[in-house]
């Protein structure tokens, strides 16, 4: 089994159809295939081969426009995203409001592995509080599980994909068991400078956690922990782990990685899953809807072959939606299933984002040295004001973490731009001296905060607009609450305080929350829309992503998240997907599905 054509998929029989090939689809298909289920994966975009398509070591002068972002490559020319970005040609989405503050932006990719090919690789565990937010402060929804339910799956995912970090034991910032994390990279000058000065205003700094192999994975020890009693899976995984190299501390992760030194679905989940012989993949397969059997269960899905325009129907015992939270919502709405609660599309969330940057004289004219490192988050600041917040002293209910950095990155188009606020405006030999002086002296801080689900943020089908396949598209409604706006203002104020103690200068002052906060969707952490819960009237799925109304339909992407902690959601999505897949295997074994 392997990459196949639509016409072949029509004829085969499968245990499970997985729609989507990113973090959720990759993890679901991996777990199922490694444990013996026959899986068909459908990906809306094209086949993608990191080994031969990743621009390793290329510099910006080798790219059009020196690599600067354009509407066709919004995160820059070298970014791994294919046929995607804020707009996908022929596949629009709409906003109900003309007001930019009430609009939502949706980053998509149309490629095997989806957005895992370019993501930031930041891998933070939700903590115990994050599973019971309503119990803690009366807002939002509790999860139908607690930290202990998901912890073993966090362990497994971290061991499989490879996550560096340290166990610092800070509040609501869980440790991983011994032997799970890889060594954290050494801090940069700017990291240590932040740590020293932020401490003066009570802000802690610890090692970052990212899915980058700072050392090679232990192929002798890990496979038996991940697949106990399954010697075939262990053997396949051990062989595949040996094909992954450690980081070479060069080439930004956003380009993807041809040597498989960071996590992307295409380099970590799919190769061993394919090696089992249990996984077939059809690319360019745009799923329109889940189809229904006479008994009310899911029959399979109907999809359009992007290359031929023809419609295909495939069937299986179980259907899994893992198309990314909002694409899965769209499929559910277009299917007219699993929505007796009326909650499909409701409670969509993003992460709160705001930032401030400045220039730090202490970082000027540094002795020349290589600061590429692992390309980000050598260190970070987890949320540190839990007690003050719970006591009502902050005026907003949930926390944020700080991602920060300076450093002597590979120069891009912005390099030495707009120095006038520092040097008055020069040219000639003086300008060249200034460029050397200021390079590497800029420092940014960006907050990533928890948004509380609210009734004003939801997606529905647009009544008139359809995509080029004739499939109705999503229309978004969006409104931040005072909690998010207050949090964004707090971020900028805090960053200004830190920049002050670092002796930095900032080009602009901190702003009010509604000016500071990034537009909904812009942080690309969109989750919710088919939330999990304990009550079928108030939620779409149970804790396994199993739809209340359709027992053989599962959702394993971010759609089921009923809160969106400040911790970037991808690691949690993978842990949930592994747990869901285990549940599917057990139900199939018991012949319940």
């Amino acid at each position: 089994m392997s990459f196949i054509q639509s016409t072949q998929a029509d004829k085969n029989t499968y245990d499970v159809i997985v729609v989507g090939s990113g973090a959720a689809g990759g993890q679901t298909a991996y777990t199922l295939a490694m444990e013996g289920a026959r899986v068909l994966m459908l990906e809306a975009g094209r086949k993608y081969e990191p080994a031969s398509e990743t621009p390793m070591m290329q510099v910006n002068s080798q790219a059009p426009l020196r690599g600067a972002g354009t509407p066709e490559k919004p995160f820059g020319f070298w970014d791994a995203t294919i046929d995607g970005g804020w707009d996908v040609p022929g596949e629009p989405y709409t906003s109900a409001s003309e007001d930019p503050e009430r609009q939502f932006r949706w980053w998509r990719a149309r490629m095997l592995g989806g957005r895992t090919n370019h993501w930031g690789r930041i891998s933070l565990r939700n903590g115990p509080y994050d599973f019971k937010p309503h119990t803690r402060d009366g807002l939002g929804f509790d999860w139908p599980m607690n930290y202990q339910d998901l912890a073993p799956y966090y362990d497994k995912v971290e061991m499989l994909i490879g996550v560096y970090g340290e166990n610092d034991g800070l509040e609501n910032t869980p440790n991983s068991p011994a032997g799970v994390l890889l060594p954290a990279p050494k801090p940069l000058v700017s990291d240590l400078l932040f740590k020293k000065h932020a401490a003066k205003v009570g802000v802690p700094t610890i090692a970052g956690h990212r899915a980058v192999l700072t050392t090679r994975l232990d192929h002798k020890r890990l496979p038996a922990l991940l697949h106990p009693g399954n010697t075939k899976a262990q053997k396949i995984l051990a062989a595949d782990m040996q094909k992954r190299s450690a980081c070479i501390f060069a080439t930004p992760c956003g380009r993807g990685c041809s040597i498989r030194a960071n996590y992307q679905s295409t380099t970590v989940h799919l190769p061993p899953a394919l090696d089992t012989g249990n996984l077939d993949i059809v690319t360019d397969a745009m799923v329109r809807a889940v189809t229904k059997r006479a008994d009310g269960k899911a029959e399979g899905v109907v999809y359009i072959d992007r290359k031929t325009g023809t419609e295909h129907r495939v069937r299986a015992r179980i259907v899994v939606l893992a198309a990314s939270a909002l694409e899965s919502v769209r499929i559910l709405l277009n299917s007219g299933v699993a929505n007796s609660s009326g909650k499909v599309g409701k409670y969509i969330m993003d992460t709160v984002g705001a930032g401030l940057s400045g220039q730090v004289p202490l970082l000027e004219n540094m002795p020349l040295h290589n600061e590429d490192g692992v390309d980000g988050l050598h260190m970070y600041t987890p949320w540190w004001l839990y007690k003050e917040q719970l006591a009502g002293k902050l005026g907003f209910a949930r926390g944020y973490h700080i991602e920060f950095g300076g450093g002597r990155d590979m120069p891009g188009m912005g390099i030495a731009s707009g120095l006038e606020w520092l040097n008055g405006g020069t040219y000639g030999k003086k300008f060249k001296e200034d460029a050397r002086r200021y390079y590497g002296s800029f420092f940014y801080m960006t907050g990533r905060g928890e948004m509380i689900p609210n009734e004003d943020c939801y997606a529905e089908l647009d009544p008139t607009v359809k995509d080029k396949f004739g499939i109705p598209v999503l229309r978004f409604h969006w409104k931040w609450s005072q909690h998010e706006l207050g949090q964004a203002a707090h971020m900028e104020k805090t960053f200004a305080d830190i920049l002050d103690v670092m002796g930095g200068r900032y080009a602009r002052k901190p702003q009010a929350g509604n000016k500071a906060i990034k537009q909904g969707g812009v942080i690309i952490h969109e989750v919710g829309g088919a939330i999990m819960g304990t009550d079928p009237k108030k939620s779409v799925t149970n804790s396994f992503g199993q739809c209340w109304d359709m027992k053989n339909l599962f959702i394993t992407d971010g759609a089921t998240l009923c809160s969106n902690a400040d911790k970037n959601p991808t690691l949690t999505i993978m842990a949930l997907a592994w747990r869901s897949a285990d549940h599917m295997l057990s139900l199939m074994k018991k012949k319940e599905l």
């Binding site: 910006n60 426009l65 070479i248 707009g418 040219y427 050397r436 390079y439």
Partner: protein, 213 residues
């Protein structure tokens, strides 16, 4: 790129074009600074080949005239001249890059295009006005006299406001074009993009410099 996308981009670009009121005619006997960019000029698409060697003029045609390129070259090299560390901007393809930038079919570049083209015309006209010669033919001191009037937004006279905006834009493009090349990256002090078997962090002298050791 479909027509709807093109129109959307053009609309976006139009909204960002600053009003330029130089009120001059071309110093090159009525010649424009550039050939037109086709309204339906395609970009590199949403799935460009990342493994090929891209060159200025590859994804879309360059449009600056020879006269405008000569002025652009003189101005690039005034902003980034040769010194003990590195050569002048034009020697590493920055004129081609600026031409590529202002000829590109994307909103930001379409917005920058009139700023740069009108600016080059203004520089040329100003050279003729002050010194009776084309800008590339001026002495270093004469060029500096014009640049001194434009380089500092805070100190420039109001009558030069539009030309100052052009100069700032042109300086940013020149710097971006230059410091992204291997020569420019070396000059500015970038020492990365080297495969390593381990990452050892900063040297002691760097930590000392920042007051960390």
């Amino acid at each position: 790129m479909d027509r709807r996308t093109t129109l959307k981009w053009m609309f976006t670009a139009a909204a960002t074009v600053p009003s330029l009121r130089f009120g001059i005619t071309s110093a090159w006997a009525g010649e424009a600074a550039a050939r037109d960019v086709a309204a339906d000029q395609a970009g590199y698409g949403t799935d460009p080949d990342l493994m090929k060697e891209w060159k200025s003029g590859g994804p879309w045609p360059l449009t600056l005239t020879e006269n405008a390129r000569a002025t652009a070259k003189a101005l690039c090299d005034l902003i980034i001249p040769a010194d003990d560390v590195s050569p002048a901007a034009s020697s590493v393809g920055v004129v081609d890059f600026i031409d590529e930038w202002i000829s590109a079919p994307y909103p930001q570049q379409r917005g920058d295009r009139p700023v740069v083209l009108n600016g080059l015309l203004w520089i040329e006209a100003e050279s003729q006005k002050r010194f009776g010669q084309s800008f590339p033919a001026l002495s270093e001191a004469q060029r500096a006299q014009i640049a001194d009037d434009l380089c500092s937004p805070a100190k420039a006279k109001p009558e030069f406001a539009d030309a100052v905006k052009f100069f700032s834009k042109f300086r940013d493009l020149t710097a971006g074009g230059f410091y992204t090349t291997p020569v420019g990256m070396n000059d500015i002090g970038y020492r990365g993009n080297v495969p390593l078997t381990s990452f050892e962090g900063p040297p002691l002298e760097a930590l000392k410099k920042a007051g960390l050791a």
